[in-house]
Amino acid sequence: MAILVIAEHDGKQLKPGTTNTVTAAAKIGGDLTVLVAGSGCAEAAQAAAKIAGVGKVLLADAAQYAGSAAENLAALVQGIAGNYSHILAPATGYGKNFMPRLAALLDVQQISDISAVVSPDTFVRPIYAGNAMATVQSADKVKVITVRATGFDAAGEGGSAAVENLAAGPDTGLSKFNGQELSKSDRPELTAARIIVSGGRGMGSGENFKILEALADKLGAAVGASRAAVDSGFVPNDYQVGQTGKIVAPELYIAVGISGAIQHLAGMKDSKVIIAINKDPEAPIFAVANYWLVEDLFKAVPEFTASL
């Protein structure tokens, strides 16, 4: 079998989900090629070549792959899909955008967000916000799969794959990339952080997130939020952890002022250790917490920060 993993990157470095996707590919078993497509991404291709277990890296570097470029990216991969039995990408905003488009072009039913590999044609995936786990089998000629990063360890370094240039595919001209507004932060990325401090509606305002940031900075943690906090405008959309936001599984997840809606639990309940701070003794978040504290967060959080 020959497996293609499509890397997510920022031009220079690989995004965290990519190496987990390589591990999922290794579990399927076969010759492993990584595609790095983008505009000005040769450095990211070099990073992909160093992942342990990667046999070859394809580099498609062209202006038409700037931004998310779903239409052009799907067309590019369609052109080489015949060489592979499996095509995988991380189930992130990036992979979720173009992979279904690719699958439809190939007349294949994509398997979304797998959390385990049972065999080369059978996979486990969460449904209903992770309240049920479905084992599904595909008979399609090519398996198009997105991978839930938290289900697989990150592949290590140690590879030395050759990087080959791949000629750019068609430029569909269907959409024009007008730039990205990225949240700037010195803190770790949510999906890569060892510790996450997350705030919910109980924070009351964006201004109040400062007390969480102070705690996060003491711990070297990322800052996340529930949907309620994002919808209330306290923090930007990219903070959202949950069923339709980011799926995280850090060593330590600190939920502050988060009641624990099903949709939020779906995004963090695989964290190794969960602590919850909430003044409501009935908050559903306590059901998934290893340790919980019933206290006013505006008293508890500064005290927590000061004690570190």
């Binding site: 439809a104 479905a134 959409s175």
Partner: protein, 249 residues
Amino acid sequence: MKVLVTVKRVIDPYVKVRVKSDGSGVETANVKMAMNPFCEIAVEQAVRMKEAGLVTEIVALSIGTAQSQETLRTAMAMGADRGILVEVAGEVQPLAVAKVVKAIADKEQPKLVIMGKQAIDDDSNQSGQMTAALLGWPQSAFTSAIAVNGDSAEVTREIDGGLEKMSIKLPAVVTTDLRLNEPRYVTLPNIMKAKKKPLEVVKPEALGVDVAPRLKTLKVEEPPKRSAGVKVADVAELVAKLKNEARVI
């Protein structure tokens, strides 16, 4: 311009689902159903565009059992002008959904198809992107803002690091994210009015679409349970537990 908007009937998002004891799926009998929340946002967006004078007609499409007519009536109570139900008894997977939406789009010739980014039952997040692929149209997935400007649209998409801006040619497929709008509540007079709006029922065979599932579900299980945690009395005890017991800080 005409807009086609898709709506899916799902288990109410606030209901805790139960896995069937035979492992064949989740219990849907006697469970409260609702319109998928992202589809509500899609309908709302179409209605707002009509209210702004940009849209002349909104066609709502659902694929599913006869009960999905209720979901279409809700869409019409929100402001859709008419409904189409493509009636299918069993499971419809995203590729089949996309083929049906394409067939209806070929017939109706909308300038914009608005779909939810994800259905909260199977959590696939595929149908919109697949529909765009089959139609050969541009896509804007996970959209948080859209401004139609003649034969193109300026869109803002939610991405993992923030926001992305694009211009897309029309016709196009747009999928909705949470921040696109806040759907309205339907009012009783509008529910009454919706009952009189036209609702057409067609079979997938009449559209020449094969909706047979491609993926075989072998089993559905409960996820692993987290072991019960402990309540701590104060911050000092919490920090001590994290340091000495969990050893994570």
